[in-house]
Symmetry: C2
Subunit: 405 residues, 2 copies
């Protein structure tokens, strides 16, 4: 999956430039455009306070066919009232106007707007408008264009996050590739992020919807960096049907192949978000097994993943497993304390109500890996859940105590 | 309330010593003893995994009359199975034995055991037993004894936390005084802490129960440092009836006076816990008003108080109010976004769906006070809640990444 990126998908163009929102001079405006209307599905934040682009994006994707996405980073266009809504629509109108000059004819409603960055500030629309005009003339389908896109959507991220795969559907090669951002304000429903996946597969909308929702639930909605569900975040999948493969039906193996490939790409992207959580030095997987319900398993896993005491212990490589089991304890899910077990990196540290007779040095070694796995079995059932998170470091404080200024 | 402490309450003795649990050599064993059985009520952690002392303490306080409390710090006696339970009972038996030699005759069941510190380790019972034997001979009722008690119960706290008041009930002076600990693993139900309040008031048990529960809900259960509800924590109130005042009845002004004074003492202690949260540099009060229910108000206030993004913004004195309102937004309570307002230190920063026209320099100044107040009005009702918390600093990471070793 190394050399492919989002512009590897036939029919998609992308690009990014610096339009002047970020004081750092970094790329802050990006575009992803399909040469024909693509079947589109998206999952949005569950925060009750949402950005203007979320309101507009929900409306536009409802039509089912999308030509492209325009994304600015550095300003989220949230808590900005009517003016913010007008700005988000204006971004789409500018897309339609300028891309028509490149032969891509479409309506304002066929574009989705996205903004990520600080809340409570109006977009500098002069800069954004000039940027869209310029970028519309420069998008392309080279590898470099794809890399620029992946960079242009970032905020506090330290690296781009991309994944891609090619699968055979009925003998035809189908490409699925994506890029996402997200480092802080990351919690399930939606993980606070923007994620884009493009594919040339030919997927009926009802099947794309099912695949996107199921994938989001098992990947992006299993990531938490700081439990702060954002106001902006969206995962969108565009399928332009450029590939000519046998028709997908709900129970066909073609659809199954597509769903599995979509999951693989999204899962890789979700892990990359957790690993690049603000200030993170380690990727952490929290597994809860033996739960009475899937909801109990996820609730307990999230309680463990979101506890600052757990995250700092992992940061310090400290085998203080009492924090892991006590976090499950306060999550208020059903458990049998006498049967509850806890493992760190596969080593059992607690079981049968008392500390396991293990060598703490081995546990410490497991906690000093770049990828730490904590598992808690609740001892009351067969359901399980898995959450991706990261450790909590001084760097997180540094990044977030001064983000505004 | 400056010069009084827990030994100012007639009939109570206290003290502390170093028995050898803490490697630092600090006080790690403390006692509070009444010269006669006191009416007792306690509120315990809601964590499903509880320490052995919680199990035993719940059983003993159920009898209704308590002679004293014995507390060790440095080891929580949690996740220690049957051996842990036996150790907790043994602490009480040793109390009964050694205090009988000082003329305080009582049963094992009239003492409550408490342990705070790391989870998953057995108590060093030889040290604890020798400590109880020695301390039973040295407790007293001087101011110094009270200060030692307040110090002996601490773990990562940077200072003692005490409060006291004297009120007139029907012309008779009644003293209410307390000491508590708690700095990390602090979240409501119970705030992760140990809190002791002694009084010479003569309170029927049913009324003491009501007063203690109501007070806990409005004070200790409104504190969160790191949302990690502990396995050990307990608030206990002992009333020894040494004062001879008119009988309290449910609707009497005598009872009302007592309840108000108990609240004042507990509220002061709760604020001290938040202000001394691990690594804290600021006390933070989160107020949510205009909620449709009290539960909604508390849920939203806790979401704001527990968000690491909110806590780091406050640490940095950064008026990034988008984090405050977006945290309310993801708490999933009922709100009217168009009527939602947010104030920082009394200055309105958001309202009517858009940023308020305020001078950010004034907001910054309010955020750089030692006590920062954030208020969010949800715009849908009349209910409110108030939560005490603190900022999140690099020091929190330092303390918690290396606590075990």
């Amino acid at each position: 999956m190394a050399q492919l990126n989002i512009t590897s998908v036939p029919g998609f163009m992308a690009g990014a430039l610096h339009c002047g929102i970020k004081a750092s001079g970094k790329l802050d405006l990006a575009m992803l455009v399909s040469d024909r209307p693509a079947v589109a599905e998206a999952v949005f934040t569950t925060n009750k306070i949402v950005g203007a682009p979320v309101v507009i994006g929900q409306k536009h994707v409802h039509h089912g066919k999308i030509l492209g996405c325009v994304i600015n980073s550095g300003c989220a266009n949230v808590c900005t009232g009517k003016r913010g809504l007008a700005d988000a629509v204006h971004m789409c109108r500018l897309m339609a106007e300028h891309l028509a000059r490149r032969g891509i004819d479409g309506e304002t409603e066929q574009y989705m707007p996205f903004s990520t960055g600080i809340i409570g500030h109006y977009l500098p629309m002069e800069k954004v408008a000039a940027g869209i005009a310029a970028l519309a003339g420069h998008i392309g389908c080279t590898h470099e264009h794809g890399e620029q896109f992946a960079q242009g959507i970032l905020t506090t991220d330290t690296c781009t996050k991309q994944a891609a795969t090619v699968v055979k559907i009925g003998g035809t090669s189908v490409t699925i590739a994506g890029a996402c951002k997200g480092s802080g304000m990351i919690a399930p429903n939606m993980a606070t992020m923007l994620a884009y996946i493009a594919t040339d597969a030919d997927v009926p909308r009802s099947l794309l919807r099912r695949a996107v929702r199921d994938t989001a639930n098992r990947t992006f909605n299993c990531v938490t960096v700081d439990q702060h569900t954002s106001t902006s975040d969206t995962f969108v999948c565009l399928a332009n049907a450029r590939a000519t493969h046998p028709k997908m039906t709900p129970n066909s193996r073609f659809y199954k192949t597509f769903c599995e490939a979509l999951f693989d790409v999204a899962d890789s992207m979700a892990r990359q978000i957790a690993a690049d959580g603000e200030g993170a030095t380690k990727l952490v997987t929290i597994e809860v097994t033996g739960a009475q319900s899937a909801l109990d398993a996820k609730t307990a896993a999230l309680a463990i993943a979101n506890s600052p005491l757990v995250k700092t212990a992992i940061h310090g490589g400290d085998p203080n497993w009492g924090r892991f089991v006590s976090a499950a304890g306060y999550s208020n899910v059903r458990m049998n304390v006498d049967r509850l077990c806890c493992w760190v990196g596969g080593i059992r540290v607690f079981g049968s109500g008392r500390p396991a007779n293990t060598d703490l040095a081995c546990v410490e070694a497991a906690m000093n890996e770049k990828h730490v796995t904590i598992r808690v079995d609740l001892g009351v059932g067969r359901e399980s859940a898995r959450i991706y998170t990261c450790d909590l470091s001084r760097e997180y404080i540094t990044i977030n105590a001064d983000y505004h200024t």
